[in-house]
Amino acid sequence: MNLLERTRSVLTTARQVYQDTTHDTRLSELADRLDEPLRVAIAGRVKAGKSTLLNALVGDRLAPTDAGECTRIITWYQDGHTYQVTAHPTGEAPRQLRFNRDQTAIEVDLAGLSPEKITRLTITWPSQALRTATLIDTPGIGSLSEQVARRAFELLAPEDEETPADAVLYLLRHLHRNDLDFLRAFHDTEVSQPNPVNAIGVLSRADEIGVGRLDSVASARRIAGKMATDPNVRRVVQTVVPVAGLLAETAATLTEAEVAHLRKVAALPVSDAESLLLSADRFAELMPALGLTSIEREALLGRFGLFGIRLVASLVRHGVATTATELAAELTDRSGISELREVLNTLFFQRRDVLKSRSALLALDRLTRTEPRPGSEAVATEVEEIIASAHPFRELRILSAIRAGWVDGKSDVVAELERLIGGGGAATHQRLGLPADADHATLTSAASEALARWQRRAESPLTSHELAVAARVAIRSCEGMLATLRESR
């Protein structure tokens, strides 16, 4: 019986135990949630670029963005058959709201409801991207409005419920104390110690790192790489990926008209262009001969940012990309969004079952502890048994122990251990550190070698207790890989 099935079965038992109580509906929701797409929350400090990144991931301009603080209500973006916006006011039944989709975002008419009174908005939008994950946009922490900041905390680290999100994309602007505190709050202590399993760090607004120099993104990549090796960061997120959200959002929604406007800038003599692009104010006001109205110029600034305009002008001038399609591809490439998608895929989507079961089991565990009733003890025991014995959870536990620095050993040994138990992705080739196109024989021999190596390590008297325990988990992971490989032959 695999993990998802075990979780489902314990949920069924629990539903029988809690039949005819107020918790019945919640349990059925939990069961439904197991089959829904993964819920990924996008969190971070105020103005970290959360809504922009959400738009970039969806590939459409849905969430409104602005220079000031903008998102004040937690908003769920989920796939569906129809376009629909639902408000969930605190303590009242959900109700549908009217909305208006203009060029730049979905504009919701709150129909007199005050934002403080709305627990969340659900926007149902038919979209390919939302089919794999429901995205949750959150108000920033460190926001000047107390209510808004508390909202984000409640969503990600509620005191007495399971977290509504299965995983979190955490937007970091450059590492800041608050960021780490917040992430820690999101991590539970039950399934394992603070847990980098369900969080990925995103170094957002990567184009601003060098204040608009053309090598900004390279600089951001270096910084993200360094952050990902920082022990304090490793304890809370799996990895850190740099993303220039604005660039990615614009690339996904680039229009021919915009490209035509930017071609005019690229056609200027180099020194004129440089002088014009020295500052945003200059671009908005100088050189009337350019043939762009101030409204068009401001629109370009809003869409590309000064960095984007400089970049596109340079790309067009050097003939790297000239058409809208080529430019869109080039900008997507440079924005780092593809890398983020890849990381999301390996670290979240491939682990969907584990993350889903984890959310459900955590909720059950809390329910049985806070609301005991005849029969709930058996449910609790079963939950604990799954948490303690299911191999994927053991892997997660060892993974966070390694991340927390509790497993001593030579660094290359620990690195291999981390990889084997799925620290760099759950697929077999990723665990073995082989390229994605490695053939069956190579994979099998690599897995057998790893198995033998870790058996030796587990039995060696020189191995520390912690490493030996971890080694036994690694052995089980290797056996699992070999079994899968045999089946697939």
């Binding site: 220079a67 000031g68 000047l144 104390r177 360094k226 945003a280 912690e466």
Partner: protein, 619 residues
Amino acid sequence: MAMAADKPSADPIAQATAVVDLGLRACQAYGREDLAERLTVARRTLADPSIHIVVVGEFKQGKSSLVNALVGAKACPVDDDVATAVPTYLRHGDKPSAELLFEGDPPQREPIALNEVRRWVVEQDPTGLAAGAGGAAVAVAEQQRRPAGVEVRLPRTLLAGGLVLVDTPGVGGLGSTHSTASLAAASMADALLFVTDASQELTRSELDFLARARQMCPTVVCVQTKTDFYPAWRKVKALNEGHLAAAGVEIPIIAVSSALRSRAVAGNDRGMNEESGFPALVSFITDRVRGGATGRLAAEAAAGVAAVCEQIASQFEAERAALADPAAAARVVEQLSGVKTRVEALKSAAARWSQTLSDGIADLTSDVDHDLRGRIRDVITEADKAIEDVDPADTWPEMQSWLEQVVAAEMLANYTLLRDRATELSEQVGQHFQEASGEVLRQFAVTNPTPLATSIEVDHNIELDKMKVGKQAMVALKAAYGGAIMFVMLGVMTGFTLGPLALGIGVVMGRKGLKDEKKRQIATRQTQAKNAVRRYCDQVSFVMGKDSRDTLRRIQRELRDHYTALADQLNRSNAEALRSASEATNRTQTERDRRLQNLTAELDRLRQLRQRAEAVANR
């Protein structure tokens, strides 16, 4: 005395210097070297006023770029990633040079080449990956010898006149220990430039910092940087003005672009300089900050001159009274003898000001100590509660920084108490001294029947001297906390650590045992953690307690010396007057007439000088 006052100079420092020079010449002419000493100190401060402007802000907001753009040189290293680690002090020098400052009293200095500044100022790569094993060892050795600051001297007109720009590290965020240390530094600075970039509105921690800084520092300005890069900077500025107004914090916002300014300076482009927004910032610094600080300094120096004039004049008045009416001479001598006892009483330990001082310091010492203990006790209670709620192994690294932060905040509050109360006490002591010495001075006045005496506005003088009163305590405090090393407090804090927590974590894999074993281990760790917190707090309060006792003792010594010296001067003035008055009785009528003429002339000069000094002081 050449009267250069006919063409008044706009610069208060120059005016004050001229007045002080005249005062010094007067002291020499009348053989009062004791009074000259006081003016010499004032003269030295005027020559090198050292007006500190501290630049603070969050991590990566462009503080170093701002400082560079202000002085038009790459004095502070700028990088996308690594940040400033030690404060850089930029001051005026005839040619560019740099020195490392190491902690000590006085701070040790070590000259370095300008291109080496970067190596000392930026954070060392903690991983040491880039340097390899050998490089890492060197880095560690250097780490241990980390300077407390770097001083860079540049020949720039902006810095002339004693302006010192301090670029601070922005690490750790505004809620951290570091910002508390910055606040402590700011309380000693003449102005604070708070840097925030135009990418977003002020965050709550920034706003909190600004509100507290406003209370600690006389002049605060919020500088919004990177306006070249963010198209919406005007909107962000407007939002920030709204936030500040809503929080009731009155701080102006100046929007600038360091990139444009640097380019403008390099290309000598006046138009672009206007565009960069820097002219507003520069005029703020030169007019409001330097103008304010130099005005204060000039007023203090001039007040010193006025006080000196008064002492010398009173001596002459007595002599003149004795000369003008030989019959009254005996009475004058008698009275002056009476004054002598009073002045001597002023010097003795039984004098009221002296008692106020020693009692006050004793009270203050115990109050400050009590306050610190109370605060530390609260911190421990809070820490215990926090430890009981969680598994300390989860939160230990955060615990350390949390504790540092909370303790630093409490220390700052404790230090603010010390500062405020010490200033209060010093004012009180000054007042008591003033009352007693004022009586003495009035004694001169009473014996003097001539109309000249009435023109001396005694009341006014008390005002002037009171201004000096508060300053004494600040001088002592600056010696303790301010000056070259502004981050002493941070040094005190980072000396201690909580130490590692023995985790004893087996990665338990059993089924039922998991929870019980966890519980047991957590309990053990909680006890350990609580003990570690107590140890830490003990160490910190020990050092802090000693530090504040020392500071108070220094304040006491400073004030005692100051007023004893004043009493000595009064005594000397009185003795001179007594001598001249006694001599007067023995003179012939011709001698007397000549001397009277001389005295009238001298008194007239003194009166003029005094009026001039008062004019400068009351500007």
